[in-house]
Symmetry: C2
Subunit: 239 residues, 2 copies
C-alpha cells in the first residue's frame, strides 16, 4: 500500500479530518508503524493525492488531517480488451493493470475461455472493486478503472468493438503474428489492445478481429502467460 | 505446458524413444488429450526442440518417438540481480523470468529483505528447479537458467558484482530515478539489471551501486510490485 485510498465516508469533519478502521488502519499501525505527527501518502478515490498527518492512533482507529494537493499520475490511454482469464489469475491481473494505470477494461468471451469462468464469484462487483482498490494503492493512483463484462464473443466483436476502437491504434496480441509489438506505440494516441486467453484465439476469431482492422502483434518466440504478456505489452507500448 | 521438457533418463531406447509418467504424463492425457499418432512439442533439457509422436498411451504412461531438430529460442543477454523476494512471490518470479528467457539469476540480500526469507524452503534446490522447469515449459525453451544465492549485501556488491557486470550496460531500477528505462537497451549488448526489494533500496545501497557505475532508471511515476516491474523492465529492454 503505497497510497492510502480514501472515500467520502472516511471524512468525519468537513473536508480534512478522516478516520480509518479495519484493513487500512491495521496497515497504518502494523506495516507503516505510523505515530502521531507522521505524514502518510493518501489520495481521494477519483480525486487528488496528498499527505495525511496522523492526529491520533489507538487500538481501534487512526485519524488524520489530510491535504490533497496533487493530481494522480496520468492514465494509460488504452482500452484493454481481455479474454476472461481464469478467476484466480483475473484477480491478480486486475490489480496489476490497475497499478500500471489502465482505466478501461473490457472482459470478453472467446472460444478458449471456459464458460464456467463467467459464473465465478470473482466477477461479483465488490470483489472486482477490491482488486481495483488494491491496484490503485500499489500504483499510487486514485482513479478507479471502468470495467465492462461482455460474455458473448460475436455480438461484442461485431456490434460494440468497432465503435469502441474507432480512431485508436488497434492491436491484437497473438503469438506467431508477423509484426512485433511496436515500441512506444501508445505514446502518440489511444490504443485498443486485444489479448486472447491462455491457448490463444481460434483462427475464426483472429480473422474476425483482423477484418475489423486489428493488427496482430507478437512479443517474440516465447509463449507467455496472459499476466506476463499483458504487463510486457503495456510496458512496451506506454512506459 | 507449451513444451514437454525431457531429461536423459526419460529415454528408454537409445536416442528417440521416451516414456513419461507422473505430472507430464497426466498433462499429456488430461490437458492435451493426446492420442496415438499425435505430435507434441518436446525439448531436451539444455538441448534441442522438436516433435514427439505418441506411440502408446495407457493408464500409467505415455511413450513417444522424438525428433529434436531445432535450437531453443535465443536467451536474453542479461544478468538479473534481484533482491530476494518474499518466498511466495519468488516462485512465481522465477517461473516468469525463466519463461521470458533469463539465464543468469542472482538473488542477493539488501536492507529491506527480511532475513527470514533466506531460510525459506522455497530456496531448496529442488523447489527452485521445479519453478525453472515450469518456466521453460511455459516459454517453450530448454536451457535451464543458472541461479546464484548471495545472502550478504556488501561482500556481494563490493567483491563479486563489479566482475560480473564488467563490459555490460549496468542498470539499477529505482522509482524516482532521473532516467527512464531505455527502450531496446538490451538489444545492443549484455545488460546487468539490478532490481531492489519491495520498498526499494536504502540510500546507502543505491549510492554504493551508483558508485560502481550502475545507472538508476525508472518505469514512470507509479510504484509497481517487483514481479510487474521485472517483467516490464525485461520487456522494455529486450522484447
Amino acid at each position: 500500500m503505497n497510497l492510502i485510498l480514501l472515500f467520502e465516508d472516511d471524512f468525519i469533519n468537513g473536508k480534512t479530518a478522516v478516520r480509518l478502521v479495519g484493513r487500512r488502519f491495521e496497515h497504518v499501525r502494523d506495516v507503516l508503524r505510523a505515530q502521531v505527527g507522521g505524514v502518510l501518502c493518501v489520495g481521494l478515490a477519483d480525486g487528488r493525492i496528498g499527505g495525511g498527518t496522523v492526529t491520533s492512533i489507538n487500538g481501534e482507529c487512526v485519524e488524520m488531517d489530510v491535504v490533497l494537493s496533487d493530481n494522480p499520475p496520468p492514465p494509460l490511454d488504452v482500452r484493454l480488451v481481455l479474454a476472461l482469464p481464469r478467476p484466480i489469475m483475473l484477480k491478480r491481473i486486475l490489480r496489476t493493470i490497475t497499478a500500471m494505470g489502465v482505466k478501461k477494461i473490457i472482459l470478453f468471451h472467446s472460444s478458449r475461455v471456459e464458460k464456467s469462468y463467467w459464473k465465478s464469484p470473482v466477477l461479483q462487483p465488490e470483489i472486482i472493486r477490491e482488486q481495483l482498490v488494491l491496484g490503485l494503492e500499489q500504483g499510487r493512483d486514485t482513479t478507479l478503472p471502468e470495467i465492462r463484462l461482455c460474455p458473448r464473443f460475436k455480438p461484442f466483436v461485431e456490434d460494440d468493438l468497432p465503435d469502441m476502437a474507432k480512431d485508436t491504434l488497434q492491436l491484437v496480441a497473438h503469438p506467431g503474428a508477423m509484426e512485433a509489438c511496436p515500441e512506444g506505440g501508445g505514446k502518440d494516441g489511444p490504443v485498443t489492445l486485444v489479448v486472447g486467453p491462455e491457448g490463444g484465439f481460434i483462427p475464426y476469431e483472429l480473422e474476425l478481429l483482423a477484418g475489423l482492422g486489428f493488427i496482430p502483434i507478437h512479443l517474440g518466440k516465447r509463449i507467455l502467460r496472459v499476466e506476463t504478456a499483458v504487463t510486457a505489452l503495456l510496458a512496451k507500448l506506454f512506459l
